[in-house]
């Protein structure tokens, strides 16, 4: 599975504080990369509800609150945990190497 992944550099890991998120664009797709108290994660970049950029939202522990309608998602699993969000986010693997953060995308 991991062999099929293309690891793309997102940013220096220290660019992200704890409870922080950043948008990352690759080709025409937008991703959100987070740092929570438990580590680094990545999901699709736009909310499944109305398309707001998730990185503009508020990271509270392991939760991202969308800036559009305050829907909430559990970052590690992508699960929608508060309405109006009800469709889960796609999640992507992230790895940290030499202080740099990479997102794993399917080839």
């Amino acid at each position: 599975m991991a062999d099929n992944l293309n690891w793309i550099l997102v940013c220096d890991a220290d660019e992200l504080d704890v409870e922080d998120a950043i948008s990352f664009k690759q080709d025409s797709d937008i991703y959100a990369v987070y740092r929570t108290p438990s580590g680094y994660y990545a999901t699709q970049g736009k909310c499944t509800h109305a398309g707001a950029l998730l990185a503009d939202g508020l990271v509270i522990g392991e939760i991202i609150e969308c800036s559009g309608h305050q829907g909430r998602f559990h970052i590690p699993t992508g699960k929608a945990v508060r309405p109006p969000a009800c469709v889960a986010l796609k999640t992507y693997p992230v790895k940290l190497e030499d202080g740099k953060l990479f997102i794993g995308l399917q080839n």
Binding site: D20, T48, A50, G51, G68, C86, V87
Partner: protein, 335 residues
């Protein structure tokens, strides 16, 4: 529509100001103490003016005293608004408690009103979608009067129907399905609260419980509404740029206290997760990217009123704020 749940607008398409990401995160941080201070101050003033009004009964002071009390009472609306966004308090239960309390004071059911307001943020002044457009274009006298006294914001028939589980299609369109039971139960609770107030009137043989609650929501409404009208009236419709469809005005600290800083209205629409107490700091960060801030209510109305009058002859007329980039172009051209 893509992956979005039935929305015709992709929120990422709205204009956004440039702001340092870490700075924005700092501004979005929530706490309880600002909300408690402002809400506590509000409630203390409400109680004090309510007591003064009671003392004034039987004198000529009764009219100004109740007008003052009612005006403060109707300023519950900006508090309810902040709790719609969940930004009044860090603590969720506190936020929801104040949300329910202020909505009940204003004779509205909190859950439907919240999602109606989310609709307003999604489709700000998009004429076919936004249910919170204050005035039609051109504005008639009656809509202005009805809005000024808060009459069109109260829907007793719909509340009664919702209490019986009959929810209109428009509400179903806006409220997430999982939240519809809340609409029903909060409608029942609203009816129960006001039945108790009615019962109190009968029991005490006095109309005062109604004067302090239901009537106050209406007779106290005009001054808060004068602030609300400045938010969007006579500005652009159907544009993806809040700088053209919303208006920010400068207010003194007393007015900002009662209005919960909603005079920073463009800032609020562009960054709705920034709590009310951080809006002045947000304004400082992004003001170079916004149209000029009006110097006060008078400055806003002296442009709005002639524009509304002009709309009778020319319904397409709108005020077009000068954006900083256009201003810069003009200056460069002049050089």
């Amino acid at each position: 529509m893509g992956e979005n749940q039935g929305y015709e607008i992709d929120l990422s398409g709205w204009y956004k100001c440039d702001i340092d990401r870490k700075q924005l995160k700092r501004l979005m941080r929530r706490d309880n103490w600002h909300g408690l201070l402002w809400f506590g101050g509000y409630f203390a003033l409400l109680a004090a003016t309510g007591y003064l009004a009671y003392l004034a009964i039987g004198t000529l002071w009764v009219i100004p005293a109740f007008f003052l009390y009612g005006t403060i009472y109707a300023f519950a609306a900006p508090i309810m608004h902040e709790t719609h966004h969940g930004t009044a308090f860090k603590s969720r239960w506190l936020n929801e408690l104040v949300h329910w309390l202020t909505a009940t004071m204003l004779l509205t059911e909190p859950e439907y009103t919240r999602w109606g307001h989310m609709n307003h943020h999604t489709y700000t002044v998009f004429t076919a979608k936004d249910i919170e457009i204050e005035l039609p274009r051109p504005p008639g006298i009656m809509p202005v009067v009805l809005r000024l006294f808060g009459i069109v914001m109260v829907h007793p028939v719909k509340i009664c129907k919702r209490a019986f589980g009959i929810i209109e299609d428009k509400a179903k369109e806006m409220v997430p399905e999982s939240q519809l039971p809340k609409v029903i139960w909060f409608s029942r609770l609203l009816i129960f609260v006001y039945a108790c107030i009615g019962g109190l009137c009968i029991w005490t043989g006095s109309i005062l419980p109604l004067v302090y609650t239901v009537f106050a929501r209406f007779y106290g409404s005009p001054i808060p509404k004068l602030f609300v009208f400045t938010q969007h009236v006579a500005l652009a419709e159907n544009v993806y740029d809040h700088r053209l469809s919303a208006r920010s005005i400068h207010l003194n600290p007393v007015f900002r206290f009662f209005y919960w800083n909603m005079n920073y209205h463009i800032e609020h629409h562009i960054f709705p997760l920034v709590p009310f107490y951080a809006l002045p700091a947000l304004h400082e960060q992004i003001k170079d990217q916004l149209p000029r801030q009006y110097s006060g209510l008078w400055d806003a109305y002296k442009e709005m009123v002639p524009a509304m009058i002009r709309q009778y002859g020319d319904p397409a007329y709108i005020i077009k704020p000068i954006l900083p980039e256009a201003q810069l172009q003009q200056q460069t051209g002049a050089i």
